[in-house]
């Protein structure tokens, strides 16, 4: 089925929140998933895979121990938290490349490299074994195949884009992945009770007159 990108964004935000991420990172997950879909990639499938890994409950184990030097942790890095840090630290890329990893679901780092590229006004590349991706913030080119498995990555300011394709305006996510996102999203909804039905939206005076 074809979805509006706003639907993707709204569903991704709820799903990330339902999976246990704080609101700020859920917002990042939503924009990132939307951005991947606009590039013609199945961002919903990437996010679904990541959420099923269940990092949110012990997120501190999946973020860089320190923002100095190589970014590492005892477990695979969460690409949402690590990607957010990459975007936050965009300015540092101008001095030196940032190495990190292994990072789970490496594709999810790309939208954050794009945010860094937008902040810096230059192209940013993400390189791992067997692939290199370059983005100027709005467009993306990938050589090689993006791995699903955790990968060590090097992010630097470099690269150029040849003729870019216009971004997609709709998304056609894998149905199973979309169902996974909706399953997580559902955890953010409070079960309806008679009281909430009556009071929660404020019944007040008649609505049938």
């Amino acid at each position: 089925m074809s979805y509006a990108l706003n639907e993707v964004e709204a569903t991704a935000k709820r799903a990330a929140r339902g999976a246990g991420y704080d609101w700020g990172l859920a917002e990042e997950a939503a924009k990132a998933t939307r951005w991947l879909c606009a590039q013609g990639l199945d961002g919903a499938a990437v996010l679904a895979g990541l959420l099923e890994a269940g990092f949110a409950a012990g997120l501190a184990n999946h973020v860089p121990r320190s923002l100095q030097g190589d970014w590492q942790a005892d477990a695979p890095l969460c690409p949402l938290a690590t990607g957010a840090a990459l975007s936050d630290c965009a300015g540092r890329l101008q001095g030196a490349p940032q190495t990190m990893g292994p990072v789970a679901w490496p594709a999810m780092i790309l939208p954050f490299a794009a945010l860094a590229a937008r902040r810096l006004g230059v192209c940013v590349s993400v390189e791992g074994e067997g692939f290199q991706a370059v983005t100027n913030g709005s467009a993306l080119q990938i050589e090689g195949a993006l791995p699903d498995a955790p990968a060590s990555l090097t992010v630097r300011t470099e690269g150029t884009l040849s003729a870019s394709v216009p971004p997609a305006t709709r998304a056609e996510p894998d149905e199973a992945a979309w169902a996974v996102l909706n399953r997580f999203a559902h955890k953010t909804y409070a079960p309806a009770t008679e009281e909430s039905r009556r009071l929660g939206a404020g019944a007040g005076l008649s609505d049938n007159d």
């Binding site: 990108l5 609101w23 630290c89 939206a201 007040g204 049938n208």
Partner: protein, 562 residues
């Protein structure tokens, strides 16, 4: 925002403007989205047609209304239904309506209409595609509808008293846009000149809906009365608006879109500052203001509400209007910064309803200073989302203090300060507000309490070195990330934060609804509880066929002879 006009008087302080009590007293103005649309359509000489009206004697069928501007045609596809009375509800949890609509991008083919007929009547349970720009539904005002059909079918015009008491034949209960139910994203159409200002597709949909409702009630009267039936008198038709029931679902919008909401408020504040900076007014400008004030009095006299809060506000407004008229009668409004003098007087002497009405009214004589600001009201600044992690902790603390100084000393553990929680119900994903200490909703709380969250983040930042980059703080405290983002956004959006507690035991969500609806151009706010409100849209406006540059703008102010 770009400013070209000279202003010697600055915009009002966000600390003054952004209190919920004041936002809940806003009135429409020259920058309201309905007026922006009707001015454009008249200026560009849009043409309108009704290529299809295929509705039976029971009032069931489909109609298509087209609006054609210089570049494109948009079509309202309207489905009319025969709704059993017991199914009629304005609540989001309703599953059937008297009429359902989509605004179609272009002119629909028969295949399009066939596809839409299987989806639009089901609203949330259906799907549309990117050819739909909005999806909406409406219910009849039961009493007024029956009265109109009865009267017209017998060759009579409806009773003016009943028309004035209700104001509309149908009220919309939701107008969905921007990607909802599969419709086109705002981003896909925002580049079109005619849709760049906020909510133009939705406003066009309601404008055409009003024509459909008039045609439908005449059709039903003909079906009932045959040759005896008469058409609705144009002056009565003109007085009718489209009602709208707006519930809690819309309240979070202005919290969730701080940059967009800022742009609305800032455009109006800039307009007010420009007009206050006018040193001397011409006789015609002063006369224009006096005319609109007089017409506002007529509008206020027709404004009814049964809600105690609004009854009190209306009493205050009537008193303010008397005082304003007296002040205006004793001043020539020509010299020594007349509009600034008026605003300063109003701040000392009037209630919030009157102050904000005065602030909107002084804009009326100054189309040249004001109307161009409508180009600044969309949110094109997508990069405001990106956090600057290099910002020192001290600067972030300062930004939080700038918007939320008032909140930092509040006891956020006291029940009255966090009595409420906003959540999304499993049932049709309806946003609701509940009692935190009485219902099991805390774990589902939505991030709609920026003031409380700012206080929490500010406290957490206290232990951090002033020079430390924010990135380090965020790595350890992802729970404050959304608050850090909002604080940084406030640099480009000084009017982006509500400066009141949105979860206190005294919060009135209807204030948030009114703030938003006033920018649509709505009038006659009629709260039906503390959480939902009825309004009227396009009352007094010309119908598509009658739209001219002469009547496209000031229709919102009723004329004495109506």
């Amino acid at each position: 925002m770009e400013t070209t006009a000279q202003t010697t008087i600055s915009r009002r302080d966000p600390a003054q403007v952004m209190r919920l009590s004041r936002l809940g007293s806003l009135h429409q103005c020259r920058l309201s989205f309905m007026r922006v649309l009707t001015r454009r359509m008249a200026r560009e000489n849009w043409s309108f047609a009704r290529p299809k009206f295929d509705i039976d004697a029971k009032g069931v069928g489909v109609a298509v209304y087209t609006a054609t501007g210089p570049a494109r045609t948009y079509s309202l596809v309207a489905f009319a239904h025969d709704l059993p009375p017991e199914m009629r509800s304005d609540r989001v949890i309703a599953t059937a309506w008297d009429a359902t609509f989509t605004l179609f991008d272009g002119v629909p083919t028969d295949e399009d209409i066939e596809r839409l007929s299987k989806n639009v009547p089901h609203q949330e349970a259906g799907r549309v595609n990117e050819k739909s720009l909005s999806v909406s539904r409406a219910n009849r005002s039961v009493r007024l509808w029956a009265h109109f059909v009865d009267a017209l079918s017998q060759g009579q015009q409806p009773d003016p008293g009943q028309v004035e008491a209700v104001g509309y034949l149908m009220r919309t209960t939701a107008v969905y846009g921007s990607g909802k139910l599969g419709a086109a994203d705002r981003e896909a159409i925002a580049g079109r000149e005619e849709l760049n200002a906020p909510f133009q597709a939705e406003m066009l949909s309601v404008f055409l809906t009003r024509a459909f409702v008039r045609d439908l009630v005449e059709h039903m009267a003909r079906a009932k009365g045959g040759d005896q039936a008469v058409p609705l008198a144009p002056e009565t038709a003109r007085q009718l608006g489209i009602g709208n029931s707006t519930g809690l679902g819309m309240a979070p919008y202005i919290v969730n879109h701080p940059v967009l909401f800022n742009n609305w408020i800032m455009a109006r504040e800039e307009a007010i500052a420009r007009v206050r900076s006018v040193e001397t007014a011409s006789a015609e400008e002063a006369a224009c203001f006096r005319r609109m004030l007089r017409r506002s009095e007529i509008s206020a006299a027709r404004w009814r509400s049964e809600h105690p809060v609004q009854i009190e506000k209306l009493a205050s407004l009537h008193k303010d209007l008397e005082a304003l008229s007296a002040w205006v009668a004793s001043d020539d409004l020509l010299n020594d910064h007349p509009w600034d003098r008026l605003i300063r007087w109003s701040e000392a002497e009037l209630g919030l309803e009157g102050q904000e009405l005065a602030a909107s009214l002084i804009l009326e004589p100054y189309a040249d200073l004001v109307d161009g600001l409508s180009d600044c009201m969309a949110d094109a600044n997508k990069d405001a989302f990106i956090i600057d992690g290099a910002m020192p902790v001290a600067q972030l603390r300062q930004l939080i203090e700038d918007s939320f100084a008032w909140t930092l000393d509040l006891d956020w553990s006291a029940r009255e300060n966090c009595a409420r929680a906003w959540y999304v119900s499993e049932e049709k994903l309806e946003p609701r507000m509940g009692e935190r200490f009485e219902e099991p909703i805390s774990e589902y709380e939505q991030p709609l309490a920026p003031a409380r969250d700012a206080a929490l983040a500010h406290a957490a930042l206290a232990d951090w070195d002033a020079e430390e980059p924010v990135a380090g703080f965020l790595l350890r405290h992802p729970e404050h990330r959304h608050t850090v983002r909002r604080a940084q956004m406030s640099q480009v959006a000084p009017y982006g934060e509500i400066r009141s507690n949105t979860i206190s035991d005294r919060v009135l969500p209807i204030d948030m609804l009114r703030a938003k609806l006033s920018f649509f151009g709505a009038t006659h706010f009629d709260p039906r509880s503390d959480r939902w409100v009825r309004i009227c849209m396009y009352a007094g406006a010309p119908y598509p066929d009658d739209l001219t540059t002469g009547n496209a703008d000031l229709w919102v102010y009723p004329e004495a002879d109506q």
